[in-house]
């Protein structure tokens, strides 16, 4: 994938740079592996007892994660920044983004959003293949009665791996691939708001993949992708791989999400108003926003599992005051919005593709956007429909039935918009359109069958069986995967500069759609006949349905082979694509294919919406005649960093990260209250005593003092009093150090014995988490800020201090809430 393009305005052919091996993926792999082995050996030697294997693996995974990122070069910038080195120059930024570099830029920490998008694309395709192979193994097993091919335990692991891989893949398939490559171009920006964070979120995902795949070697995990406690607590070592995958994945999503939202909010080109934003951008932005809000809940649930497994807490052990319901609530609070995280980008993409191939504007654009916002808000209120059969009183299920039914309203509005768009349009059945139409058809089936699952009486029959499975495959695969394939065929020419073979594409479509329908419709019938999920044994009364389903799976295998062949041949030797093969009107179709390093060398002014077909070609107006306007071309080539807008970006991103952390913290605090309400006091607390209230009050007061000192110092910026600024920031940092020591002392003062009861588990968790946040944010980040401050290079960058100030206040607020909880509830 050469970076040379025919239309790039370079006078001389660019020289290819020497390949940089360190830092790159190679150094990352080496450093990560070595660190994992070394740490693993150390921990294995230091710890003994029943938890030795879990402790070893978790520490090894953590070491792999951290040191891979160090090795790939992700930490270079923060360290440089903290040591007070000068800002990177524009040339250095371009080098980091892979200017004049060949294929190797895909194998290192590269900040160009297009490179990151392609990295995600290849990773998604590989993961999808692995998950697909697992699904074919499932269908192979289920073709005949009895457990013929795999043992039940192995089958369970395959099902769990398939589920987790596919869930992870469907979450990132559109948001990360299209979101990274296409969305910045669609809004007229030259890159994402935080290019380095963008690359970081990709490489974080990359570290999660070996962790996930190592589960196979470690004996798999028996819980399926939902990871329910208490089986998760008791399972063998493979469960740790599952938990760590989730932790890393959630971090990657939070960072990617705040990057995406900040980009779309702050970097739209002039004229790209919210009312002209393509629905692809809406779908991806809302999806990533929802993801960053709810994923920390899953992370919290899994962290509690890890603590139960490695340390000996009892969040989920009923005999010691815990409860598996806690896991279910925290998991499904994430789990339901997650399916909308998966769906919304596909909805957005389809709502963009259909108008292009019917040559009509999107019908009721405002309803589509309103519907998507409504879905985001409502999705956080319906999770208890996954808990209908967990043992709650029926009366508690009623509000969830209502809200789940209600969520079909905004979804339905979007469907009506699509139908309205198709009505009397001049439909061209190109491959993207075929997949988009199939999306509408498949998702309709998926959505309607969901209604049966929303209502308790019918769900009584269909829960936990193949009907449910077929429902969510119709929505996830029939919806999102088809949406992804539509997007893939649509944007492939733009991303690679080549056209996919149209007839192979159509063949792929028909094979996939027929295969897909053939695999899952019989499973609805099998579900009605009562076949449960996660079971290797097929009983005779559902044998026919399963056989038909497995035979159609062969059709899907064929379709994947066709796709693979198509991609490989077209990418290497396909027909060159034109700039705008589909005749679309969004901004990316005005740029050359593939898009060069700098998307928009000239400023962009958007004057029309993306769906105003019949009004001439796409517009890229606002190219001022450089001579006439007396504008220096050099100014455009190296844009001066706009401090005002950078401040907005940093502040917004910080608030979003705090929002994400708020979910994690709320999950902990509400979980504490929830378990207290569910148990009698004796069960919950046993003989565990309260932590030192005086200590925690002092720590809370200290946090407040630190935040106030920081705010006081910040006000020195206004008056230009740099001594005040330094004094304030340094004082805040010192107080935070003292507070950290305070946390450690309080923790030392807890004289609990293992295994901890639920109360002791929560108290320890609160204190440790608070100490970690003190450590990470106030101390480490504070040290970096101090370093930069004292080197004098923070001048004019008020936003750095403002953002850090937000964190200080947030830590202080949580310290106060934590102290109140510790003092009042036992």
């Amino acid at each position: 994938m050469s970076s040379v393009t025919a239309t790039h305005s370079e006078a001389t052919p660019p020289a290819h740079r020497r390949r940089v091996l360190v830092p790159s993926i190679l150094s990352g792999l080496v450093l990560g592996l070595v660190a994992a082995i070394v740490v693993g050996v150390i921990v294995h030697g230091a710890v003994s007892g029943s938890r030795q294997a879990d402790d070893t693996m978790v520490c090894a995974y953590l070491a792999w994660f951290i040191f891979f990122l160090v090795g790939v070069g992700a930490m270079n910038f923060p360290v440089r920044w903290g040591l007070g080195r000068p800002d990177t120059t524009h040339e250095e930024e371009l080098e980091l983004a892979g200017k004049d570099e060949g294929v190797w830029r895909y194998f290192r920490f590269c900040t160009d959003h297009k490179v990151v998008g392609m990295q995600y694309l290849v990773t998604v395709l590989v993961l999808f293949l692995v998950g697909g192979v697992a699904s074919w193994m499932i269908r192979l097993e289920q073709a005949r009665t009895g457990a013929k091919v795999f043992t039940p335990a192995t089958y369970n692991t395959i099902v769990g791996m398939h589920g987790l891989i596919m869930i992870a893949t469907t979450i990132i398939m559109l948001s990360a691939v299209i979101g990274n490559y296409v969305v910045p171009i669609m809004i007229g920006a030259n890159d994402m708001a935080f290019p380095r964070l963008n690359a970081l979120s990709y490489w974080m995902l990359f570290t999660a993949v070996p962790i996930l795949l190592s589960a196979i070697v470690l004996g798999g995990f028996p819980t399926g992708w939902t990871g329910y406690a208490p089986l998760a607590d008791q399972a063998a070592v493979g469960m740790d791989a599952y938990c760590m995958t989730i932790v890393v994945f959630a971090l990657s999503i939070a960072i990617g999400g705040l990057n995406m939202v900040t980009t779309v909010v702050t970097m739209r080109a002039p004229g790209m108003t919210w009312g002209r934003l393509p629905t692809t951008v809406w779908g991806i932005t809302l999806s990533t926003l929802l993801g960053l809000i709810v994923f920390p809940s899953f992370m919290a649930a899994v962290v509690l599992t890890l603590l139960d497994r490695t340390v000996g807490t009892s969040f989920y052990q009923a005999s010691l005051g815990g409860n598996n319901w806690l896991y279910e609530q925290m998991f499904w609070f994430m789990g339901h919005p997650e399916v909308y995280v998966i769906l919304l980008p596909a909805l957005g993409v389809v709502c963009d593709i259909v108008p292009v191939f019917t040559r009509k504007p999107l019908f009721a654009y405002k309803l589509v956007v309103g519907g998507e916002i409504g879905i985001v808000v409502l999705s956080m209120a319906v999770w208890m429909h996954h808990l209908y059969w967990s043992g709650a009183n029926l009366a508690l299920d009623l509000p969830t039935m209502l809200s789940t039914e209600a969520i079909s309203i905004p979804t339905g509005l979007i469907f009506f918009a699509l139908i309205g768009t198709l009505w009397r349009g001049r439909i061209r059945l190109e491959p993207p359109m075929l997949f988009a139409l199939a999306f509408v058809f498949n998702f309709l089936i998926g959505g309607v069958t969901g209604l049966y699952l929303a209502d308790v009486p019918t769900d009584a029959i269909f829960h936990s069986n193949m009907f449910t499975l077929a429902h969510f495959h119709f929505t996830l695969v029939g919806g999102t995967v088809f949406g992804f394939l539509a997007a893939f065929y649509y944007w492939f020419p733009k991303m690679t500069g080549r056209q996919l073979d149209p007839w192979l594409s159509r063949l792929h479509f028909w094979l996939f759609e027929i295969g897909f329908l053939g695999v899952f419709i019989p499973l609805f019938l099998a579900g009605i006949r009562g076949e449960p999920r996660w079971q290797a044994f097929i009983v005779p009364n559902v044998a026919t349905e399963n056989l038909i389903s497995s035979l159609f799976a062969i059709v899907i295998v064929a379709s994947v082979a066709v796709l693979a062949y198509n991609i490989l041949t077209s990418w290497i030797a396909g027909r060159r694509a034109e700039v705008n093969p589909w005749g679309a009107r969004t901004l990316e179709w005005t740029l050359p294919s593939p898009v060069p390093l700098i998307n928009f060398p000239h400023p962009v002014l958007v004057t029309d919406g993306p769906y105003d077909f019949g009004r001439g070609g796409p517009r890229l107006m606002g190219r001022p005649t450089l001579a006439g306007a007396g504008i220096d071309t050099a100014t455009f080539a190296a844009p001066a960093p706009d401090v005002g807008s950078r401040g907005r970006q940093v502040r917004l991103a910080t608030l979003l990260l705090i929002l994400s952390d708020a979910t994690f913290v709320l999950a902990m605090y509400l979980g504490f209250l929830y378990l207290r309400v569910l148990n009698t006091q004796g069960q919950f607390t046993a003989h565990e005593s309260r932590p030192s209230i005086l200590g925690s009050v002092l720590v809370a007061v200290g946090s407040l003092l630190a935040a106030s000192a920081f705010a006081w110092g910040q006000r020195g910026l206004r008056s230009g009093n740099s001594r005040r600024v330094r004094a304030g920031v340094t004082t805040a940092w010192v107080i935070s150090l003292v507070a950290l020591v305070g946390d450690v002392l309080i923790f030392g003062g807890l004289n609990y014995t293992l295994p901890l009861h639920a109360y002791g588990s929560f108290m320890s968790l609160f204190i440790v988490y608070h100490a970690i946040r003190h450590l990470l944010i106030a101390v480490v980040v504070g040290a970096l800020v101090l370093g930069r401050l004292y080197s004098g290079r923070l001048a004019g960058r008020d936003y750095v201090l403002q953002a850090t100030g937000y964190w200080f206040w947030w830590i202080a607020i949580t310290a106060v809430i934590m102290t109140v909880l510790m003092a009042t509830i036992k």
């Binding site: 002039p270 004229g271 108003t273 919210w274 009312g275 405002k366 956007v369 309103g370 916002i373 409504g374 808000v377 409502l378 209120a381 009183n393 029926l394 009366a395 508690l396 009623l398 509000p399 969830t400 209502l402 809200s403 209600a406 400023p603 002014l605 606002g622 001022p624 005002g644 807008s645 907005r648 929830y674 309400v677 569910l678």
Partner: protein, 290 residues
Amino acid sequence: MADSLPLGLTWAAFWLHLLGERLAVRRTGRPRSRTARRRALSFYAGLLAIVIAIATPIETLSKQLLWTHMIQHVLLLAVAPPLIVLGAPWMSLWRPLPLGMRRTVARALALSPRCAPIRSLCRALWRPLVVLVLYTVILLVWHLSALYDLALENTDVHALEHLTFIGFGILLWAQVIPSPPFRPSLAYPGRIAYLIAAMVPNVALSMLLAFSRSSLYPFYAHLAHRPGGVSAFTDQQIAAGIMWSFGDLPFVIAIVVLAIRWLGQLDAEAAQLSAGAPGATGARAEWRLT
């Protein structure tokens, strides 16, 4: 007597408003505009919600079933106030009073030094944070077992409960919905944050009711029979569900509407800024909370 006070006030408000609308037509010589007619309908819908809450079998069943009582509360707290605020009935309610009385009262309230405490009270009450705190306190206080049961036993207290619900509900919703001549002081993002903050105690209270292990209100727990034969415990859980879903629904709808309006406002501002100089990047308007 006291229990018919809210109903009486509702009827009075209805007739007063009707009269005020007729007077407006007569005095200006023009028929009412579409906005005014829609506002009137919204106001009457709000009054209808109050009537449904307190003058239908919902009222009688409330004494036997906690979940019916919850429906009544949701109507009075979350359905009627936003509709009334949307209806902006204030001028039409004020208009039918005689001109002399209106002038005297208005002059006294606005200028007289003796009314200064009233003026400072009104100013204090109009702060969004104060209203939020008072609304939350009223909501939580009336759900304490002792007071909840007292309201069921004593009709005066019950009328007071209903009046405070409607009154503070109106004050809360007036902070987010423009109700001429009153204007919210919060900008759109502030209004969205405000509504989310107002939802939190509602959700927390309904979770407490839902997951508690025992019956919280002795008045209902001690009833021998309940219509439908539900147990006190189930009754409480159904009530919690209604409070959670129906109680939050108006807030959710309002948040979605506000979000869309906010984006429209951002677009209008951006269009204004770039209207002067095509190709100018222009500093985008900073969003503020107030």
